[in-house]
């Protein structure tokens, strides 16, 4: 089963990229995530970074160890599962003509070989997971746009300070 949600954020791709490549941010903006631990000492997410993650779906926290398998700065960040349920995910950032960023979050999951019960479970889990993806994108948008406003305010302050001095 593959889910796909998107949103437009009023900020350039580099600001969005900063948020999604900082591992410590995920517990703040990803809905349903109960565990997100970057295995390296550095919390930045790069190609090959491994992360222990869990997301609450119905009666269980599912997930496992995932690894970043694609990393194109300010464009694409994709991961795949190493252990746990089979999953693949992707952040896809594209700049719009008016300078904003279209952010797409894709998530594919399933258990190979689980037959019809597996297919039913994927269907039953889809609304809850889809809701989590939508909510995560909205929280990311709030976070990034807030950071953009703060950055602009800081820049304006910096411009004013030399004049006042």
């Amino acid at each position: 089963m593959r889910l796909n949600e998107s949103i437009v954020i009023s900020a350039p791709p580099e600001l969005v990229w900063d948020q999604i490549t900082e591992g410590s941010n995920y517990l703040h903006f990803m809905s349903g995530i109960t565990r997100w631990e970057v295995e390296d000492d550095d919390s930045r997410i790069e190609l090959g970074t491994r992360i222990r993650m869990l997301i609450r779906v119905g009666s269980a926290e599912v997930g496992g160890l995932i690894e970043v398998v694609e990393w194109q700065p300010e464009r694409d960040l994709a991961w795949a599962s190493v252990t746990g349920v089979d999953q693949r995910g992707r952040w896809r950032l594209r700049e719009t003509p008016d300078g904003r960023t279209r952010v797409e979050l894709r998530y594919a999951y399933g258990v190979a070989g689980s037959g019809i019960p597996g297919w039913i479970a994927e269907l039953v889990a889809a609304p809850s997971l889809g809701g989590n993806l939508r909510s995560s994108l909205h929280q990311l948008k709030r976070r990034v746009e807030h950071e953009r406003l703060r950055a602009e305010a800081a820049r304006r302050r910096a411009e004013r300070e030399p004049a006042e001095a």
């Binding site: 009666s59 269980a60 746990g84 349920v85 689980s114 597996g118 479970a121």
Partner: protein, 339 residues
């Protein structure tokens, strides 16, 4: 032709090695003695009846010895029976059952140590269907991944019966015995035990909010011998999945079930689809009660009770902590079944 007495002796000795986890039940050797008696009785009839019956005697004795051999093989845990891929493919089915039917909720799995052997001790509910075990197995296997070895102890009868045994052994269930439990912990796996066993799981519905280990303390000796922490696991809701009216322990004693099959109870319940259900041997359709499980912080026995802990003190502490948690979980429930 084998002598009936020899066959009876073989049937008896086949039970070696299956000591009771609780340290109080009869050994398998004793429990298989009636098979030897059957063989001897068959032998007596054969001598009286002549050549034709002699052949019958040999066949009957062969069946008895074969059954004993089969039981012995299944009671000795082969940890390789656990099949991670089999389990992984069935997780979606378990998830559907736990999510839709039981609205299962397992809290604080993070209290279980991330690595190494650990003894999880739970209260047991729901008769032979034990929905709380399914909900917990799903939660554990999802949280830690099926890569982490996880075994559960179950009643000998459940593990040896062809259908239930073939469904449970690949999931990591092994027959309840001290030796099997040691083998699991020595392998570095996590182990879930229910000291209350058949006694607790068939308690009457009005005792559904009661932790009742029946004074069984074998698990404490196990934790001390293996030097592993105990993690209490408390569940509520499982006993509302069927209406147990009586354990039927007197009936079980009168029929000699304890001696024959290590069954201390012959429960009487109202259950779907049977109506009045005596024994619960074929299981039942569990009612869709909400099941909530709470995992408590680990207890290092030597750290908490000194270098030589007193089993009675540990037992009292553990059952009290679990009962207090169960009381709190019960207080959260506003309605039976619905939760």
């Amino acid at each position: 032709m084998a002598d009936p007495a020899t066959i009876a002796e073989r049937a008896r000795t086949n039970g070696e090695g299956a000591s009771d986890l609780n340290g109080e039940g009869p050994g398998l050797r004793d429990r298989l003695a009636p098979l030897g008696g059957l063989a001897r009785a068959g032998g007596g009839l054969a001598r009286a009846g002549g050549g034709l019956l002699a052949a019958g005697q040999e066949a009957a004795a062969g069946v008895a010895a074969g059954a004993a051999r089969q039981v012995r093989q299944r009671l000795r845990a082969d940890l390789d029976d656990r099949d991670p891929d089999w389990l992984r493919e069935r997780l979606p089915m378990l998830w559907l059952l736990a999510t839709i039917w039981f609205r299962g909720e397992v809290r604080n799995l993070g209290n279980i140590p991330e690595r190494g052997p650990v003894l999880m001790v739970g209260n047991h509910s729901g008769g032979n269907v034990t929905p709380d075990t399914f909900v917990f197995t799903l939660a554990f296997s999802s949280y830690f991944g099926i890569e982490r070895r996880f075994h559960q102890l179950a009643h000998n009868l459940v593990v040896t019966l062809p259908f239930s045994g073939s469904m449970l052994r690949p999931g990591g269930t092994v027959a309840a015995s001290h030796k099997n439990a040691e083998r699991v912990l020595e392998s570095g796996a996590a182990l879930l035990v229910y000291p209350g066993g058949d006694w607790e799981v068939h308690r009457p519905i009005w005792d559904r909010f009661k932790v009742d280990f029946a004074g069984r303390k074998g698990f404490i000796r196990l934790a001390l011998d293996q030097d592993v922490p105990i993690v209490p696991v408390v569940s509520v809701g499982g006993q509302e999945t069927s209406l147990f009216l009586s354990r039927g322990d007197r009936l079980a004693r009168a029929l000699g079930l304890d001696r024959l099959f290590r069954l201390k109870v012959l429960p009487i319940s109202l259950a779907i689809p049977w109506g009045l259900n005596v024994g619960d041997f074929l299981g039942h359709v569990p009612l869709p009660a909400k099941i909530t499980t709470e995992v408590l912080p680990p207890i290092d026995l030597r750290e908490q009770f000194g270098p030589d802990p007193d089993p009675d003190e540990v037992y009292e502490h553990l059952t009290r902590v679990m009962q207090e948690t169960l009381d709190a979980l019960a207080a959260e429930r506003r309605w039976p079944l619905i939760g």
